[in-house]
Symmetry: C3
Subunit: 376 residues, 3 copies
């Protein structure tokens, strides 16, 4: 089964597939020294409508997210596939998900845990996971390479009164071993970003345990007058039969015109087991997460697929005078009903040590999240 119906004109020239997505989270936190962090609540994490398809050789794809009663433009690009040096290659123009490591380049509905890993979260540039610009990807038999130039992702206003930040990003991966039973994955990414004048400061506070709880975050502390930043990441992992493991490290250095340069580190170590024997969702072609093909779907009378996974994440912002740090241990159980819907349970034992904000000092706690999602 394909995830959703595709419609074609009679001559096959025009194709159209409606895109939709519904992701709901039910979460709770206990054990923090701060009462305001011990919250329970539910949210619609993502609701999307969109379309993708082809008009002859030209591809199009756009999706708009409406979670939180806000409109947020996600994928919005034209693509053109054509061989380069005899190899499959694709060009993108528009707003696309950047090729930022194994998880930054994966849609959030395909990653094995409810939050992206610390390497991507800490390493991402000012203009974030999406960017508006151009990208080129080329695929070899056991590698891929990408190069992109992108400005700000569509911002809160369509009117500019400042020049955009512009990021130059490149990434490659290689499979030194690749066979019927699995593959070894080695990858790296690097970006340079010229930060626009309109960015007066950089102030990241990534969520350390699920998205809902706004009080539960690591405070990187604010960096004033940023001028440029660079990020680098390394990936090492692989898939063997129905097991997978992935380690990723990300580093970001921010230059400022008024304070010293700041370096941040994020790292992640994760492993998983498809209990029901399916191949893990990590792709050897794109070097990212692309979803699990379920052998015996619930919706056809089977039991679906089950996955057990664990991850350790380190957030280190201590390169700045008032930067905090955090650790999270996540245990996840994923129940894939079929190729497009799953139920996730994440238990997170977390630790933050913030130097600024309302929740300073060492704080340990536990969070539990349940996510139901359907994507087509």
């Amino acid at each position: 089964h394909e995830a959703g119906p595709t419609f074609s004109s009679d001559d096959g020239f025009f194709t159209f597939k409606p895109d939709g997505r519904l992701v709901m989270d039910f979460t709770g936190t206990r054990g923090s020294d701060y009462d305001a962090r011990n919250l329970s609540g539910s949210q619609v994490n993502s609701v999307r409508l969109g379309a993708e398809g082809t008009m002859g050789k030209l591809g199009y794809h756009f999706e708009v997210d409406f979670a939180g009663n806000k409109t947020s433009l996600k994928e919005a690009y034209l693509s053109y596939a054509t061989p380069v040096f005899g190899l499959p290659s694709k060009f993108y123009l528009g707003n696309f998900l950047k090729d930022l490591g194994t998880e930054g380049s994966s849609e959030g509905v395909t990653t094995p845990f409810m939050l992206r890993n610390a390497a991507a979260t800490v390493g991402e540039p000012v203009n974030s996971y999406f960017g508006l610009g151009g990208e080129w990807k080329i695929f070899g038999p056991d590698w891929h390479y990408s190069l992109s130039v992108s400005g700000n992702s569509p911002a809160a206003s369509t009117t500019g009164s400042e020049t955009d930040s512009v990021a130059y990003l490149t990434r490659a991966h290689w499979n030194p071993l690749k066979g019927g039973d699995g593959f070894l994955h080695v990858g790296a990414w690097y970006y340079y970003e010229k930060i626009g004048n309109g960015v007066a400061s950089i102030n990241n506070t990534p969520a350390i345990a699920l998205d809902y709880n706004g009080n539960l975050a690591v405070s990187a502390s604010s960096i004033a007058d940023p001028t440029q930043d660079r990020g680098v990441g390394y990936e090492l992992g692989g898939v063997y039969r129905n097991f997978w493991a992935m380690g990723e490290y990300g580093k970001r250095t921010i230059d400022s015109s008024s304070v010293d340069a700041v370096t941040r580190h994020g790292s992640s170590l994760a492993a998983g087991w498809m209990i029901t024997g399916e191949k893990p969702g990590f792709s050897s072609r794109g070097g990212n997460w692309q979803g699990v093909h379920v052998s015996d779907p619930l919706t056809s009378g089977g039991w679906g697929a089950f996955e057990l996974a664990a991850r350790v994440d380190h957030y280190d912002f201590t390169g700045a005078p008032r930067g905090g740090k955090g650790i999270s241990y996540t245990l996840g159980l994923n129940w894939y009903f079929n190729d497009w819907s799953r139920l996730m349970v994440n238990y997170i034992r977390w630790y933050t040590d913030n130097k600024v904000g309302s929740y300073q000092g060492p704080d340990w706690g536990n969070s539990l999240g349940v996510r139901a999602q359907v994507v087509f």
Copy 2:
């Protein structure tokens, strides 16, 4: 004719129906002692895009509303239909319209008047008609029962810094008489809601005559520091051939940590006549409004269906020291072009007696509204 096309994958496993809605109001008010209430204007009341369908046994439905250039998430749930005790039964997970009486549980495009009745409007909990959570419905031959637990409907922000309000709602209806000529409807609903810390006060000002005019509302007056509330409602009515009548009463009691508990009452008495002989749109199965099946649609060369209806609504917020009250008499003429489009004309003679705000004291006036809607 079904309302809109449904698309299927070749094996019938995946179905997809685009959902769309367009509701436009043209309204005017005259006769108020306050000039600012004598407004005319038009608005797009509702514009929606969405999708619904099935993936095997799993159902999905989501709709997003864009009226007022704002994004507002409406239906967004997964459903699963399975017999319980040998009876048809359905489970919902996500954001759904609560089973709050005859009109609260009906989509606004199916109710016989342009505004929902006073029983639902006065009785509804903090987290309103929609809620994010789980629901179970079971249907007997002449009754239905439902039970739901739901938190806040998706709010203005996806980040929580407070625990949600949580509502526990149950409703049942029974048809003591049911035959080929019609049925008698008896129903009741009850909810208990634990109000989240983030709700500093409850301040309802329901529109008494059409949606557009923001100055024309009953002021319930603000209740500070609410902790919990309860609602109860009773329904009695029925359908006989092409006639219908329905009385509904709703009561809501709000407890506060700083002021006395407050009780509010809303009641509604309505009756209607399908002039062209169709069965009224009130369903004996769900105990709510579900649309009229037009015998002789305009779009097939006929004249469509006509309905004449009248309603009296009482809003009573005088249980609070500064709560107001209101009465409205509505006369409605509905012209159903076909199963999915209608033109409504509502004339409302209204009265408000507010104790707070800009429009205090007894005030009588007349409002006229015309609504055109298409829904698929």
Copy 3:
């Protein structure tokens, strides 16, 4: 090829066509005396989802735009086509693009340049290009006539506390010459608008060179306490084989209860050449731009169509004591890949002379814009 697939119910009664649009701009400005005007940046200019189709004799069409992460309702109407005096005629109810001259009545994705012309921009009423109300259009063999009454387009809020502005607009065009090789176009439009009490002032600052740069605009200066306004426009142009030319003049007079009446003028002179021989996109039936039919589409192995065009625009707000003026010379090259996608390059030599705001006095500069768009 039609632009996108249309789906029908089995009996052809219900039709449904998904509407989508993606428009991306990459722009830069140099040469201004003000550094803040010399910006570069990219934006998603328009992303739309919608639907259109028929239910028997009734047509429906709605589109929602999500550019800038904002929700903006565009087309949202029902239509009914029926002969009047034996001539084709159409009625619209809802939110529609007004028949405001050759470019105001054209969708932005069909006009030959990236910005609409100065006649439409200067002449448009308070409630802008779209309006919520009713319209009637009738088409003769070599003319059309339209009449509309419309209130505010759906505004930022669905709740009204002021009466709407209401515009009465009429337009006609005539083709005194019309043959196989082309036609001559003569047209005129006029509106009267009663301005709602809620409009405290009118303060237009139209972009003179591309949409992105918020600092690069002509300042009309603010007109306090407007009560009513009138607009009039004249159109003269034509199509000869693969050449076209169009001159348009627009005038708007604004009355105020506290200052003298103000008159504004905008004019535009443009011409173009379809290098590859196609007929220009200007329609003799509707008197507006409706898209080019490409003979040899890129997507079918051809080269697509190329158009070279030039335009001069004058913005004259000097009728007000502190109103500015502006001139722009635009050179455009359009590459139509196929009937629904094109790449535009616009070079603009512009001049502004503002009396208010941050960019006063004579200022010359150059802007370059590239636009990629796909529409179905």
